[in-house]
């Protein structure tokens, strides 16, 4: 019996979170797991907080992750990694893109962007894997590849062969972007922390 595992994807609308969670789900299905994925996006089309709950195991019942039981959180934006703190526990692993996207109240000078977010997580005993995915993607010449870099990092912690992910990316990503996405995935997967 494989116990049900929980992956939480979070970030800001427009960062490619849904594709990332989709590729991961598909890969886990091909590896033989039952998978449920639940997407939560607010009313706004752009700029709002986005989260996706992905659960896999032999038989997954609830579509939602219980507070305190995330195995891996993949945060596409720095501040967002902290928003879901109640879902984490001391053995959670947080993969965080260190890119900052300012919330409206910060952008207009009414509130400030918190400092030391990574430390806030670490001091609670959470393992943090910071990734400068935005700069990595820029160097690859495609800023939209941030999501595949993060999937690459995540893949190192999942019971799925690399080839399965590559196969899924080939099928899921638009033809013109397949190569760059595979490259991004591999860069993420090969990162050392």
């Amino acid at each position: 019996m494989a116990e049900t595992k929980n992956i939480l994807f979070c970030g800001v609308g427009g960062q490619g979170i849904l594709l990332a969670s989709e590729v991961t789900s598909e890969a886990l299905i091909r590896a033989g797991f039952d998978v449920k994925k639940s997407e939560v996006h607010g009313m706004a089309q752009r700029g709002g907080a986005v989260e996706a709950h992905l659960r896999y195991g032999d038989r997954v019942y609830s579509p939602l992750i219980e507070p305190g039981s995330v195995d891996v959180e993949v945060a596409f934006e720095l501040l967002e990694s902290l928003r879901y703190l109640p879902y984490l526990n001391t053995s959670s692993r947080v993969i965080v893109n260190t890119q900052r996207i300012l919330p409206p109240a910060v952008a207009t000078g009414l509130e400030s962007y918190p400092d030391n977010i990574v430390d806030e997580l670490k001091k609670r005993g959470i393992e943090v894997l910071p990734v400068n995915a935005f700069d990595m993607a820029k160097r690859l010449g495609e800023v939209r590849a941030v999501n595949m870099i993060l999937v690459g990092v995540l893949s190192g912690y999942l019971p799925v062969e690399e080839d399965v992910f590559i196969e899924v990316i080939k099928e899921r990503v638009k033809k013109a972007f397949v190569d760059i996405n595979i490259k991004a995935f591999r860069e993420g997967r090969n990162l050392k922390f």
Binding site: A2, V12, S25, E26, I29, R30, G32, F33, D34, V35, K36, K37, S38, E39, V40, G42, M43, A44, Q45, R46, G47, G48, A49, D58, V60, Y61, S62, P63, L64, E66, P67, G68, L79, L82, R83, L85, P86, Y87, L88, N89, L102, P103, P104, A105, V106, A107, T108, G109, E111, Y113, P114, E120, R124
Partner: protein, 606 residues
């Protein structure tokens, strides 16, 4: 870990996609819907199937009437809507219960516990009982597919419309689905005159009324043996009766317990429930929202625990169930206070120009539902009511009738294009007919933006992607009898201000059509306009551009020395425009009194 072996035989679908698949497998011919979260993707997915006629109806009542018409013509038909949509469609629903069907008729209704994107919470199971129509409730995507097949079978076998209830966490969750072969259905499409069945004159209706009782009796019998109503035996200490997504939370929280999972939530299998209750020591009813199953079970004289410990509002979840039933509470990290990311109008949104001016005019705005409801939030803060689709226009007239002349110049109704067609036309007729003087602003952004850009009658496109006759909103308003109908471009801030100010003063009805496409429409995105930029040295830090609430404009703080250097000691900062986010609508340029905002490339730099 064995079941995914043949990947060709499985699909990973959302509940809504699975509903569409189930409908296609059931050989549905006609499907009509009005968009509404969380139901929208059902019809969107269906419209990608080739052999089904799909349409966006102007509202849910029409959608159901179209589906019923198709059923009367002998084909299988479906209507889908969100919970509040069923209020609109309730009129035909209650009488469709009397007529029954020819081709199978299924109505999917999507409830939204927790109000993720709705103005209220409703438990549509109450409609099943009130209209005496059977209702199925799936828990996960594979059941969404399978239950649609069951629903059509039940519909035809028992001569009844069938309701299928879903909730946000069923519709928007993806899971593994096992597609089946399409049903071959001998089509008896055609016109058959059956006045006693379809003409609900009192004399006919009285006969059908008796038929309904007989049908319910048969359905109750059916419920006892229906294989999807099932008992999963575990220990006999605790038993749960549950359905829908709540079943999944129960299984997650109490894997060893006995569970009676109801697929048919109306009518209920009384013998099965009593039998289950007898064999467990403590019986719990777990259901989201109303104590629907619970009241029935209690009425059977069965002892059970339900809403005493389980909330009757918002969504349920596994942790909450564990706490309620066995008092188990997990220590979790408390959340930290960090800046929120509330929904905002997009950069370049055409609604902004209207609400910015309504805010300046300090009028009382009776609003409505759509993306433009965001006009109620800071910094625009220019909406004072929002009740249900179409309500704003009637509300405005009511306010005027209550206050008389005092209201002149002080009240404005706003309504989106899709909402206007949905239910804004009849209240506009009321204004003209009963001699109101309301000003109505119709926000024609060329789409139904809120629910993800569905075409509507005013866009000239159909759900299936074909071109069609475009509803001429201005001509329609004139035909109703509104003499003053003006069309404006909301991005032209100054003209918009002038026009609204003039029209609200008029002691007779007027309609302002604010016409500019949604900034997210593909044609707007592709037509790249030059963006705007702030000349830092010219910006005085007056913050007026921030009052537009545009996400592309942010604020850079400066200290006193820096302010001195700029020669404006009191200046606290300056505005900045993100080149990535700016869509070039130009509204900020118009509101800036210091000419500090210019088209990119015009600031003397490159």
């Amino acid at each position: 870990m064995q079941k995914n072996k043949d990947l060709r035989k499985i699909a990973f679908l959302s509940g809504n996609e699975a509903f569409a698949l189930g409908a296609s497998e059931s050989a549905v011919r006609v499907a009509s819907a009005y968009p509404g979260t969380p139901s929208t993707e059902i019809l969107e997915t269906l419209s990608t199937y080739k052999d089904i006629y799909t349409e966006w109806a102007p509202n849910e009542k029409v959608a159901l009437e179209v589906a019923l018409g198709a059923s009367i013509a002998g084909v299988r038909a479906m209507a889908s809507m969100k919970h509040v949509g069923l209020n609109v469609a309730a009129d035909p629903l209650f009488t469709a219960s009397y007529t029954g069907v020819r081709g199978g008729l299924v109505v999917i209704v999507a409830d939204d516990p927790q109000m993720h994107s709705s103005q209220n919470e409703q438990d549509s199971r109450n409609y099943a009982m009130a209209s005496k129509i059977p209702m199925l409730e799936p828990s996960e995507p594979e059941e969404c597919r399978a239950f649609i097949r069951e629903a059509f079978r039940i519909s035809e076998e028992f001569d009844t419309p069938v309701l299928v209830r879903t909730t946000t966490r069923v519709s928007h969750v993806k899971g593994i689905v096992y597609p089946e072969r399409k049903k071959k259905r001998s089509v008896d499409a055609g016109l058959v005159k059956m006045p006693e069945k379809f003409v609900m004159l009192p004399a006919h209706a009285r006969k059908r009324r008796i038929f309904i009782e007989e049908r319910l009796r048969k359905l109750k019998e059916f419920a006892e043996t229906f294989s999807s109503n099932r008992i999963e035996w575990g220990d006999n200490e605790t038993g749960f009766i549950t359905s829908g997504v709540s079943y999944l939370y129960v299984k997650e929280a109490f894997p060893g317990a006995s569970v009676l999972k109801l697929a048919l939530v109306y009518p209920l299998p009384e013998r099965m429930i009593k039998e289950f209750a007898r064999k467990v020591k403590r019986l719990y009813i777990v259901e989201e929202l109303d104590p629907f199953i619970e009241l029935h079970v209690k009425a059977m004289g069965v002892k059970c625990i339900g809403k005493e410990i389980i909330p009757s509002y918002y969504e349920l979840n596994t942790a909450q169930l564990k706490e309620a039933v066995i008092g188990e509470k997990k220590e979790i990290f408390p959340s930290v206070n960090i800046p929120l990311r509330p929904p905002v109008m997009c950069p370049g949104c055409p609604h902004r120009g209207i609400f910015y001016n309504l805010s300046r005019l300090k009028v009382f705005v009776t609003g409505d539902i759509g993306c433009y409801t965001l006009g109620a939030l800071k910094p625009l803060s220019a909406m004072d009511t929002c009740i249900c689709m179409g309500a704003g226009i009637g509300n405005a007239l009511g306010i005027e009738k209550a206050l008389g002349e005092d209201a002149l110049g002080k009240v404005v109704a706003v309504i989106g294009d899709s909402t206007f067609v949905h239910s804004g036309i009849t209240p506009l007729i009321d204004i003209v007919y009963n001699r109101g003087f309301t000003t109505v602003i119709i926000l024609d952004n060329r789409t139904t933006a809120m629910t993800g850009h569905q075409p509507n009658p005013a866009t000239g496109r159909t759900a299936m992607g074909t071109e069609t006759v475009e509803l001429d909103i201005a001509a329609l308003c004139r035909a109703i009898g509104v003499k003053n109908v003006v069309t404006i471009n909301p991005h032209d801030i100054d003209n918009t201000y002038r026009v609204i100010r003039e029209e609200i003063k008029r002691p007779e009805p007027s309609v302002i059509i604010s016409r500019a496409p949604c900034a997210l429409l593909p044609e707007v995105r592709k037509a790249k306009r030059p963006g705007y930029t702030v000349i830092e040295e010219t910006c005085t830090g007056c913050r007026i551009c921030l009052k537009l609430g545009c996400p592309a404009i942010d604020w850079v703080k400066i200290d006193r020395d820096e302010a001195k250097r700029r020669g404006r000691e009191k200046q606290k900062g300056y505005a900045r425009i993100s080149a990535v986010l700016c869509n070039g609508c130009g509204e900020c340029e118009m509101v800036c009194k210091f000419d500090a905002i210019v088209e990119e490339g015009q600031d003397g730099r490159d």
